[in-house]
Symmetry: C2
Subunit: 236 residues, 2 copies
């Protein structure tokens, strides 16, 4: 099985959640826009290509299927890549956890773009600063504390008691937040020991370590979803 991943070049963005699953499993895939340019996505996005038109990247082409939305892509890939438990009930849990990660990622985006996705950050800085306070003080402890409690209730190592795509996505989530809010994440660190240990273990998985050391892993930057603007960070 060969996969085609379509996502914007130049940023990790939401594509990275898919990339990590493909890399961890050692899957054969082509990162289409990086090879052929962003314009290779156009026929899909404008609906002229066969298959269900994606609302936005990332999307995955596998056989005749076109699948968009991170949660739907991982829900499809999980069984094929051995990255989700076998039981249907556990697969539902994986999706539930992944969708909660997606909710936080959407809030992370809106932290630097609280007024309009189409406007520059510089044109909504004041509002971003106000929203960032709520993100740091309320949303991060609430979301990350919940993930920590799910880990604790399930043996401490994996939210699903075994390795899965959710572990990989939690690694990406924490990496992004560490980049975006270094001071705040440092302050929260003592309350999130299991999450940080999980992140460290994922980072050391051979395929992930090789990927992170490769040119395929882009650095975080202020064009992506996780953006480091020092004025949005604080200890508390």
């Amino acid at each position: 099985m060969h996969y085609e991943l379509y996502y914007w070049t130049g940023i990790q963005g939401r594509g990275e959640f898919i990339r990590l699953a493909l890399e961890d499993a050692g899957a054969s895939y082509t990162d289409m826009a990086r090879v052929h340019g962003d314009e290779v996505m156009q026929p899909f996005l404008d609906g002229s290509q066969e298959g269900l038109r994606p609302f936005a990247p990332p999307f995955l082409v596998t056989g005749r299927q076109v699948i968009a939305q991170v949660g739907a892509i991982l829900s499809h890939l999980g069984p094929e890549l051995g990255l989700v438990p076998d039981a249907a009930s556990r697969r539902a849990q994986a999706l539930q956890l992944q969708l909660t990660i997606a909710d936080l990622v959407a809030e992370v985006h809106d932290t630097h773009h609280p007024i309009a996705a189409s406007k520059y950050y510089e044109d909504q800085k004041k509002e971003a600063k106000a929203r960032a306070a709520s993100m740091r003080d309320e949303r991060l402890p609430k979301f990350l504390g919940w993930f920590e409690s799910v880990l604790e209730a399930n043996g401490g190592l994996h939210p699903l008691r075994e390795h899965s795509y959710v572990d990989l996505s939690l690694f990406q989530l924490l990496s992004g937040l560490d980049y975006m809010f270094p001071r705040r994440m440092q302050a929260l660190r003592p309350s999130l020991p299991l999450l940080h240990a999980l992140k460290d273990r994922v980072e050391r998985r051979p395929n992930i370590a090789a990927y992170l050391a490769s040119e395929r892993r882009l650095a975080f930057n202020t064009n992506g979803i996780f953006r480091h603007y020092p004025e949005l960070d604080a200890d508390a």
Copy 2:
């Protein structure tokens, strides 16, 4: 199979997407908080109840499973209620469409709460007005235009070419938007004929019509996700 649905009393909110699926299928379910009060959710939300702790309502209890997140719940219920096509590839499409609805619903919430979910609307009115302009001018045409095009590409009647939980959720989405942005939705109406026809057909389905006429269907109000604040609406 008897289901227990858990969601805040007093609003339709995200629980309504689940309620519509259960009602349309004529499923046997108990709307737990409406019967026993909101406090019946507490042991689940604080993690003292068995099963995967939900991050937030709605959640569904079925047998020993606790499932949260609208997309995950509908993905589980779809096959059991006959509300999704049989083929795995079509089920992936259903989830993809549902998650795009969820993305718009999250943006709808943040339209009246652009700075902090924990603050009153009245304390972020100015920012809400700015964000509402982007919602009306950019996001609504983009999202709804995409759903219209998916309908058009698939025979015009159903995004999945047959009735599914996605149809029910699109009905709810359009109903909520019609309530929240009556002027803007009226202006967009000529460009969305298939979506509005779908909404009308769902409304006439016998179980849905009976539900909408019952006391179980709450009215939209300004405590829910879709909120009508006249100052956030405009023709364009």
